[in-house]
Symmetry: C2
Subunit: 717 residues, 2 copies
């Protein structure tokens, strides 16, 4: 039940929200002595690129002009140091005694890990009534950004070669060197971050805290009330908060900077900031790239989701057991469908795309107007467009000429391909076999896992029917697989006779190498042998085109930086940003969605669905309802610019006080991945007042609420 | 604040809901000895024509097949007799002592009329604590449908002439005769109703009750909570109910049939019926008519609303006083915009229009396949299409070549035109001057009313700017009005020098007749003289084309009846219908709208907008909140097919018990005017349980709640 990750991750299929644990291995850490000279960028503000500002280029003039707000460097430093990063999410120091606030869905790993054998804190919630009861989260860390340093010149200077491959190697090497030096010099966690697709490189230096302990988590039903249906939507009623504490040398860490608690939270219309680590956006994509997503990639993915959902629903209809077994996958696919549909909604909106088009035209004019820039970057857009067009020309084949329709065929494909790929040099392998890939695929083939052959038949037949519907009648792949049979008959025959359900059989083949594979009579192996060359040629062709796109996209990024400088915030990089916005209702379904929701609304929504899942209250929330002031806000919305990775970000006011905690976006926000708009798109946060009300009245956690509100400072905690 | 009426009425601009007081002078009253032979129509059910069934053709086979529900004739008779009609709305008997339930917004006239000088029951609500306190509603009546008789043969038989005008006269005469005879014979209120645009004529006989007294009305803020923004939308929290009592001979009337109160209301998924009087639908319109609305008429109206809203907002921005003064008009226009946008949403939906197109193709094939039908009706569609096309060809001129841009020009136009129109025979006049029109327009010109010349200048200049933008550069009308000046300068000059703000001046001109008008130097009169011929020619041309459309639409209606019989429910006629549906949640904004709302939700929505208007609770509702069981449902939705005129309809279960009270549709229902769908469109009702809870706990009205629930029968009431 982790939330949705950045676009394109397999994890998109996990059940979850718009935001969420941003999973990437890129996140390490680093920064500069001279932080943030403010750029003169107010005049360059282009709304559709959003407001994910870096701390070394806050748009001070724009803030002054728009909100009459002019923070000094001390304010910016304080806010930066109070905003901290955790694995895949954002968070912040919220007390002088090391308390860190994030989302429940960002701390699920810890909450599960610290649960005793007989209790699941995910279900029951967890409240530490004293410091001694706080439980260490294994493997969790907190990163505090110390400084940012522009290292573009040094990185560029090290790249002297002329071939792309050598250039990449030189760049990777200098980045490694910079990070190593930084670590050695400062003892900090150092990371060189690539902005504007290579237009700028910055060294981010983080202080890392490794002793993190769980202090408070509500029940999963309270943090994720409304479950998957309400996911990505608003009005919402979720107490998606968890508190942990950072320790140093066995004692609570005393941060110099933290966010005090606002007395009342934010009023409608009030300026608020979100400081956090957005994971990934695609706002610098070219029109051609967006059009490919719009016309080819997303429609195909949606169709694929629908096909798979049909199968799962058919399976689920067979028994209550089957339903329960497939439930999570159904929810996951439905959510992925909701997400992609949302992205697509932006891309098919003529007004939104019109803005992008105007921008690109202006941008290209600026580049063409400068002979030097034109020489360097002028052809990048057309190169990308050409490659996208070619990719589109065999997109159907790429979708269907694969091993992917059947789990058994997929294993057969892995077996057939492995020895040949292993024999090649790393650079000559298919992308997924490079580096660690080779061993990963081997492990995947050998892993002993039960295979439901009946489900695999349904799945394969459905895949083949879809292929039949879309591919030309004389398609070679289909002819090879079907051999004159119907999809159902072919799937039945191939899977019934297949021996690869047995892990030992797979192991024997893989270890027997090319010879064993060549002589196998297993029908799936035979089939995989026949289609492997076709799939390989196609995959290689697609990979080459993607390399062209990627290299030229890098040029476009550099060109953007050359043309606009830091006036445009760079695409999200899972590094610290500060986004401005206002708390604001929005037009929805003919009326308005209110700027905040209340506990009244939580009880309303439960009652209005007859307390059926996922609109279920725990017994605690039923029993203690009378204690609550039901008019207390629980969630609210604002126009801040966020995306996956921002989960757990604090929402603060001008005084850098906590007014809320980001945990999702509304469904209207999904198109913001590519083009930012704020007419109806909203960030969704837990309200500071709702957190206190729940801590005090629902969880008897005055100790924690007092600490947040600075009411008292007990000697020991 | 009356609700929205049928499409095309001026009253569309009144503030109000999707449903509402259906204003028409057509509603008189009538019926047949032999009621309702059930037609064998289950096989003919075509979903996009909806489910507004007449009581003489209930779709028994379809109900049996769909819901396993097979009511007998006694059930149908009981339901028919318990369902009664009031001016512009629907209602029902809900006790054996003559209590009638309708919407608050249907009884506003009565509630105002019975308010004493020092109190406004619209604001305070009204509760009669005894029969003696019940207050007579002046001019209100209740019609109970006694019988329905098919009189098609008699009407057709009387039409023997060959010219359309004579045919119309003959038809009107026979209808008048049938109604008169009926009245004389039965003492009932008799009305011949035209179904299928003339495909079928039925005599409806009503018993009319004229002594109607107010029993209970909540405060306007409770009945219309959420006001105009929430109007047409769901989730809703409106106690839009009012109870009146029918008296006969000074005593409460004892109806033989009434709807008892359901103990629990309806569960999700439950079959429910709505019995009421839908006012007007356009489901039998041809594709050409719908395309005209889609491409010409509605876009123009939306633009016009937007232009007028811009003016009103500009005026409102000048002072708080101006804002308050214009508020109702702004809300009204916004609501009209919402309604038309909703209708348009259906017409631009390719899937919805695709269904209509398929139906029309099938329908025309059936007609063409029968030589006789083809001879009679075959050319109707093309005739309509041709006329619509011609109308579209000068639609721009029709919009702008009018007196309508300025209030003063409009008065001048009336003055200039009146003597000439009065001199013509009735049939030769422009449509709006025919019959009563002549005197109405005279009255309008003479009425002494303040004219805000500054607002009129803004309005006229805006109208002229819009005309300039859309009409060709050399447009004669514009050249005449502007005479080389800018819109602003022209409006300023014309209005400053105009004397028609003075009612006496208008009277002098009108009474001075053609001579006085011809010699007037008032610049608006001069202008009106110049443009009158142009506007008249155009209006006459449009009127002639509309006659063609209307005559051919009648043929299409007859053809539908000939091809499908009663298997298709006829378009709404503000006569009694029974619609089946189920109580059901629906997909909304990425999640679900619940099937019901609760008092929790009412308090939530008030709190979530900080109790700002129109989300305001009265002091009673604030003070007495603790008395309520907040989980009690207040509103719910179902898939029944309703439209304006259905306001106040009872929602009943299989046992003919009241489970709710229709008061609106959701915004997704607006496209149903033309093509019925029930994926996301829903009827919105007050829940039976919410009415009882409010009566007992909020209004101390146990007397009334007991009567509804049949708990006790006090000797006197």
């Amino acid at each position: 039940m982790s939330r949705i990750h950045s676009l394109g991750c397999v994890a998109l299929l996990a059940t979850g929200g718009l935001l969420g644990v941003w999973s990437t291995s890129r996140a390490q850490a680093p920064a500069t002595k001279e932080v943030a000279k403010q750029a003169t960028q107010a005049q360059g503000f282009i709304k559709e690129f959003g407001t994910m500002w870096t701390f070394d280029a806050p748009p001070l003039e724009y803030w002054k002009a728009t909100y009459d707000f002019a923070p000094d460097q001390a304010w910016l430093d304080r806010v930066r140091l109070a905003s901290v990063r955790i694995p895949g999410c954002s968070s912040s120091f919220v007390s002088d005694n090391g308390l860190v606030m994030t989302n429940h869905h960002c701390a699920r790993g810890c909450i599960s890990a610290v649960s005793p054998a007989d209790t699941n804190f995910q279900e029951t919630g967890f409240i530490a009534n004293s410091g001694a009861e706080e439980r260490t989260c294994p493997g969790m860390w907190v990163d505090q950004l110390q400084s940012i340093e522009d290292v573009t010149t040094r990185v560029r200077g090290a790249v002297t070669a002329t071939t792309p491959a050598e250039q990449v190697a030189q760049r990777d090497a200098i980045i490694e060197t910079i990070q190593d030096e930084c670590r050695a010099e400062t003892g900090l966690t150092c990371q060189v971050v690539r902005f504007y697709q290579g237009g700028m490189y910055s060294l981010y230096r983080y202080k890392r805290f490794n002793d993190v302990r769980l202090v408070f988590a509500p029940e999963g039903k309270a943090s994720f009330f409304g479950g998957d249906p309400d996911n990505f939507t608003y009005p919402r009623y979720d107490l998606d908060v968890t508190l942990v504490r950072v320790y140093e040398d066995g004692q609570p860490f005393k941060p110099t900077h933290y966010f005090p608690w606002s007395e009342n939270g934010a009023a409608e219309g009030e300026l608020v900031f979100v400081t956090g680590n957005p994971g990934s956006t695609g706002r610098l994509l070219t029109m051609a790239q967006m059009e490919y997503l719009r016309d080819v990639s997303y429609p195909a993915r949606l169709k694929d989701f629908e096909r798979r959902l049909d199968i799962l629903r058919e399976l689920s209809a067979q028994s209550e057991d089957a339903r329960r077994q497939n439930e999570n996958q159904v929810f996951g696919l439905e959510n992925a469908h909701k997400a992609i549909s949302g992205y697509l909604r932006g891309l098919v909106d003529p007004e939104i795309m019109g803005k992008k088009k105007s921008f690109e035209a202006d941008f290209r004019r600026r580049i063409m107007a400068d002979a030097d820039l034109n020489q360097k970057y002028g052809t990048a857009w057309d190169n990308i467009a050409r490659a996208q067009k070619e990719l589109a020309s065999f997109a159907l084949e790429s979708r269907y000429h694969t091993f992917g329709g059947s789990q058994l065929l997929n294993l057969a494909g892995g077996i057939v391909r492995w020895p040949a790929q292993a024999a090649l040099s790393d650079a000559d392998r298919l992308p997924q076999y490079r580096g660690e890939g080779l061993n990963r695929i081997r492990g995947f083939v050998l892993r002993d896992q039960p295979i439901d052959t009946e489900a695999d038949k349904l799945s394969f037949a459905s895949f083949l029917r879809a292929a039949q519907k879309e591919l030309p009648a004389n398609d070679l792949f289909l002819e090879t697989v079907l051999a004159g049979r119907s999809p159902e008959v072919a799937a039945e025959a191939l899977i019934n006779a297949c021996t690869l359900t047995d892990a030992a059989a797979r192991k024997a083949l893989l270890e027997g190498g090319a010879a064993a594979i060549a002589s196998s009579n297993d029908p799936m192996i035979v089939l995989a042998r026949k289609i492997e060359p076709m799939t390989r040629t196609q995959a290689a062709r697609a990979a080459a085109l993607r390399d062209v796109i990627s290299a030229n996209a890098e040029l476009v990024g550099q060109a953007i930086f050359a043309a606009y400088g830091k006036a445009l915030p760079p695409d999200a990089t899972f590094t610290l940003r500060i986004s401005d916005g206002v708390v604001k209702r929005y037009p929805m379904n003919g009326t308005f969605a209110p700027y905040k929701t209340t506990f009244y609304g939580l009880y309303a929504r439960a009652a209005e669905f007859d307390n059926q899942p996922p609109w279920v209250l725990t017994q605690r929330w039923i029993d203690r309802q009378d204690r609550l002031d039901l008019a207390t806000p629980i969630n609210f919305v604002s126009t801040n610019d966020i995306i996956g990775g921002n989960s757990g970000s604090p929402v603060i006011n001008r005084n850098a006080e906590v007014v809320g905690l980001i945990f999702d976006g509304n469904i209207e926000m999904l198109p913001n991945r590519f083009i930012f708009t704020d007419e109806v798109s909203r960030s969704v946060s837990v309200h500071s007042a709702g957190i206190i009300e729940a801590l005090r009245k629902m969880y008897d956690a005055d100790r924690i609420a007092d600490e947040l509100q600075g009411v008292a400072q007990p000697a020991t905690r």
